[in-house]
Amino acid sequence: MTDTGIYNEMHQNGGISAAYRNLDQWLDTMPADLRSLKQSEAEALFRRVGITFAVYGEGGDPERLIPFDMFPRVFTDREWRKLDRGIRQRAAALNAFLADVYGRREIIRAGRIPEHLVTRNEAFEKTAVGFRPPRDVYSHIVGIDLVRTGPDQFYVLEDNCRTPSGVSYMLQNREIMMRMFPQLFVENRIAPVDGYARLLKKTLASVAPEKCEGEPQIAILTPGQFNSAYYEHSFLADLMGVDLVEGQDLFVEGDFVWEKTTEGPRKVDVIYRRIDDAFLDPLCFRPDSMLGVPGLMSVYRSGGVNICSCPGAGVADDKAIYTYVPDMIRFYLGEEPILDNVPTWQCAKEDDCKYVLDNLADLVVKEVHGSGGYGMLVGPKSDKSTIEAFAAKIRENPGNYIAQPTLALSACPTFVEEGIAPRHVDLRPYCLVGEKIELVPGGLTRVALTEGSLVVNSSQGGGVKDTWVLAE
């Protein structure tokens, strides 16, 4: 800890932490001109392979690059082992919760979670009730957003059970670092992450529906090339060697879903969808959806295809449900949570709401269903009028908001204009749930490039870093 109360992951009390020891020397070998040369080399590489990021509703260049910071984020093996266990535990509990709320509803009947939080939740899907997906897995790719506030203190900021994005950056950041700084990888024993695509394919294959015989045919369902994450969709399809399909490439006939191919219809067994529930099937959900496949839900419900994540999985990653995840872990797994939740006030509760309104200047307030860092208030960074305007919104619809203390997010050395400076970071590892629960050692580190900023979202000026886990 420094006197600002912010945990610097590399430098503490004049010393350098174990994880970053070798990187100190590396910095010495990097004069400013070499650094800027490497930085533009990295950018050219990103541009070349076409990794771009479209920002929702902001106009401008739809193919802009997400800023890449060359200074890696590092975890020791010991640090990672705890995260690894904690993430698996959480992913298991979230899936047990989904199987339960769409099945026997034991956690509700036991009075541990209020029924209305589940059944009146927007993400709760009536059509999923009573249906058991293969292996009882609902969320096959769980993205857990973590922040660090001290040497041993990590908090889970939120869970993503639908279709967490960003894993392509985790993979590409590593590729680019290996290409630009091979020596670093010789000097440090860095656990590889490139097994992710193989694991993902294995996970998806392991949840093929009952009616599938032989090797399951897998496809990634994308909203199309104008989606901000299209690059990621095509990247993953390519790495896994599976088809990247749009709704128009699929049709339902008889008991199955088929792809339109140059050799005629080909049956699809597992669909890794990157579109929202509401768009999956115009005969079941939004009738105006052009992105989905009419009849898809019927085939799913009758066991002809599996959809990953399952429709309705979003009910587990809602911010109102988030507060109950530690309880879920105790209830379903009989274990104590390994990773902590951030203390959270629910404005739906009268006492909590009063506290939040009295302390807005010190809190971060989020919309229950929001994402991407939009529609939130960062109290300490906001002026009085912004805070007052936000207070009015909370009073109008308290159930729509939760609040958390502003955490002193850890900082990691980052290349900036003037040289090297600490910038706040978070971490999103990707946990795969199928026959087994697995995750590769690493994740996506997002960094707030603006000095003092806590907003790491790439849609709001955040960047990314390669994330290392040092092998023993």
Partner: protein, 275 residues
């Protein structure tokens, strides 16, 4: 009562389309008030696809037709033996808990007028749950006069109330909206209704609402006919609103031609053969 049903829906497109996919909820519900003696749903030219019983107990069949096709016809015929349960849905297997049906949709969202209607109706009704439900059904029947041809498939409950006229769909939507205001789970139900000789009954292909009444369970209310479903009613399926519960929900592929729908429904009392 033995009821004979013939129900034909003919979709005619003004230009051939590449294909049609339909979800059909055209099978009588398995419940205490009705027993299916014979039933068939036929869609000439269609490939019958995935079938399943959904979470709310409805039997759903998905059929697809490969074009080019200009006409799609769905033919339903059958016989059902019904008994009067005073509107109470008995012995119906479903897995969705009632609180799920507190959710409103675009068509069942309550505006200020629907809220006012609810509060006015409930004030004299007391606390007895069944009486409250009846009060709401009565208020809706009174506030929206039956008049066909004035409202559309997409008309909302609020629009129907402000216009003061509507058909069974509008009545059902309005009742669901009011029930939600009163924190009563409510849903949209589709089915058939046998027309009386006196011509009092409207719309053989019918819709009404079910409200969840404590101690009784789901109870049907038909504001359009100011009664609870009895032995003249055959229940098909349910949903949040007309779209969600639709007996036939289809999608045309390849073009957006004008579509013309012809529906013929007859529901008649079965004639006993005299020896």
């Amino acid at each position: 009562m033995k009821l004979s049903i013939r129900h034909t829906s003919r979709y005619v497109f003004d230009a051939p389309v590449r294909g049609v996919v339909q979800n059909q909820r055209l099978f009588p519900a398995l419940c205490g008030s009705q027993r299916v003696l014979q039933w068939s749903v036929n869609t000439p030219g269609a490939t019958k696809g995935a079938c399943f019983r959904d979470s709310a107990g409805d039997w759903v069949e998905t059929v697809s037709i490969r074009g080019p096709v200009k006409t799609v016809e769905v033919q339903v015929t059958g016989e059902v033996e019904t008994t009067d349960t005073a509107g109470v849905l008995r012995d119906h297997a479903e897995q969705v808990v009632p609180s799920v049906y507190l959710r409103s949709t675009r068509q069942t969202a309550a505006d200020a007028a629907l809220q006012a209607l609810t509060h006015e109706a409930l004030e004299p009704a007391g606390t007895q749950p069944l009486a409250r439900a009846h009060a709401l059904a009565g208020a809706v029947a009174e506030a929206i006069a039956y008049k066909p041809g004035e409202t559309e498939a997409h008309t909302t409950a609020a629009e129907a109330l402000s216009g003061g006229i509507g058909v069974c769909q509008d009545h059902a939507h309005a009742l669901i909206a009011c029930a939600h205001v009163a924190d009563i789970p409510a849903r949209y139900v589709t089915g058939y209704l046998q027309a009386d000789a006196d011509g009092q009954v409207h719309e053989a292909s019918h819709a009404w609402a079910e409200l969840f009444v404590e101690d009784l369970g789901w109870v049907g209310f038909d504001p359009a006919n100011q009664c609870c479903p009895d032995e003249r009613y055959v229940r098909l399926g349910s949903g949040y609103d007309a779209q969600d519960a639709a007996p036939i929900r289809g999608l045309v592929q390849g073009g957006t031609p004008a579509e013309h729908l012809e529906v013929e429904v007859t529901v008649s009392r079965h004639q006993q053969q005299q020896q």
